[in-house]
Symmetry: C2
Subunit: 212 residues, 2 copies
């Protein structure tokens, strides 16, 4: 039985965070790549650590905290205006080139976003991008981050079906959804190996246009 | 009031994982550093992800899974004998040079280990090192990894006091213990910034010999 609804991860799956990396390079020439990499790594780590510590704060705060850590570690000066500029870049990310074709292909099917992003980041992003979904769901409703099962349960509850096809470019996110019980499509644009977490994606896609 | 018991993290705090890194370099010359780094990163990530997914497996399994992932990503051939050799290296780690002096200094005080390590890794390690503790506690008793509060609660329960001084070189581990309610000493041998997780260590030590 095919899924009754498609649920997408946002950052890195539908939306390309390249603009944030480029802004880092503009603000600290020659350091953009190192900063973005450390920032992203800590951003994810802090979502996992705070979830396990039961000390949830919204993703916008986690993202600012991770930025402050990364700038400190790399000895890059950070003031409020630079931090604000980078957070602003998150609200205007471009969709990946394969998104438009995929959206046409799935027209008429129920589709939603399920993201770590807090509503203050996620709602403007979707609005600015012009993409339309039946629901834009944030983990903020359950105060814990992916891959906790409470997060994936949110989509089931909001969409009224467990027959969900979940789409993510983050392998660990895809496997979290698989562990919960969804049909899972891992968008592996980078050609990396599957994470070893005891589950396998149902299908590995090279691009969103391959979505069945 | 001073802590009634001292509780130590094992890997990276008391025991130097350098021997494992060296073994990686012997097995795959020129690739040891890259492999160890990716292996360690995935090892930690998998503990956090599996904890959030509620799919606990013992640390020995997580460690083997992370090794398999890292070798796959770096396209290094891994067979059972190489994997076994590396897992064996984990059982014979040297204590850091500052451990002996510290152990003399705290003689007579209650002291324990609290580690992600499963008993099959932790017990031989402590035995082989010749260090003596009142208790060697593994997260395996609660089937979730650090920094979940259940883990830190284990030390309180086993040692019969909440007045615990917790010592770790992993900042996130120290802050997890702080969030739980312990007095926390972060051993910052590398001079890195404090992680931004909403808590501060009570004291930052350059070496274990500075432990009050």
């Amino acid at each position: 039985m095919p899924p009754e609804a498609l649920v997408f991860d946002a950052y890195g799956t539908l939306y390309d965070v390249h603009a944030v990396i480029a802004r880092c390079e503009t603000l600290w020439p020659g350091k953009g790549a190192a900063l973005s990499q450390l920032w992203r790594a800590r951003q994810l780590e802090y979502t996992w650590l705070r979830s396990l510590m039961r000390r949830y704060v919204p993703f916008s705060q986690v993202t600012r905290d991770a930025l402050a850590y990364a700038c400190g570690a790399l000895e890059l000066p950070l003031d409020k205006s630079r931090a604000d500029a980078l957070m602003q870049a998150y609200l205007n990310l471009a969709a990946f080139p394969d998104v438009a074709g995929m959206m046409r292909k799935i027209r008429g099917r129920k589709a939603a976003i399920l993201s770590n992003g807090s509503p203050d980041m996620l709602d403007p992003l979707v609005q600015n991008s012009g993409l339309a979904f039946d629901a834009v769901l944030s983990v903020d409703a359950v105060k814990i981050f992916k891959p906790a099962p409470e997060v994936y349960a949110l989509a089931e509850k909001q969409l009224g079906t467990k027959r969900i096809g979940f789409v993510s470019s983050n392998c660990w996110d895809a496997l979290g959804a698989k562990s919960y019980g969804y049909t899972v499509y891992w968008v592996n644009r980078g050609g990396t190996p599957v994470d070893r977490l005891g589950f396998q994606p149902d299908q590995v896609l090279g691009s969103l246009e391959e979505l069945p």
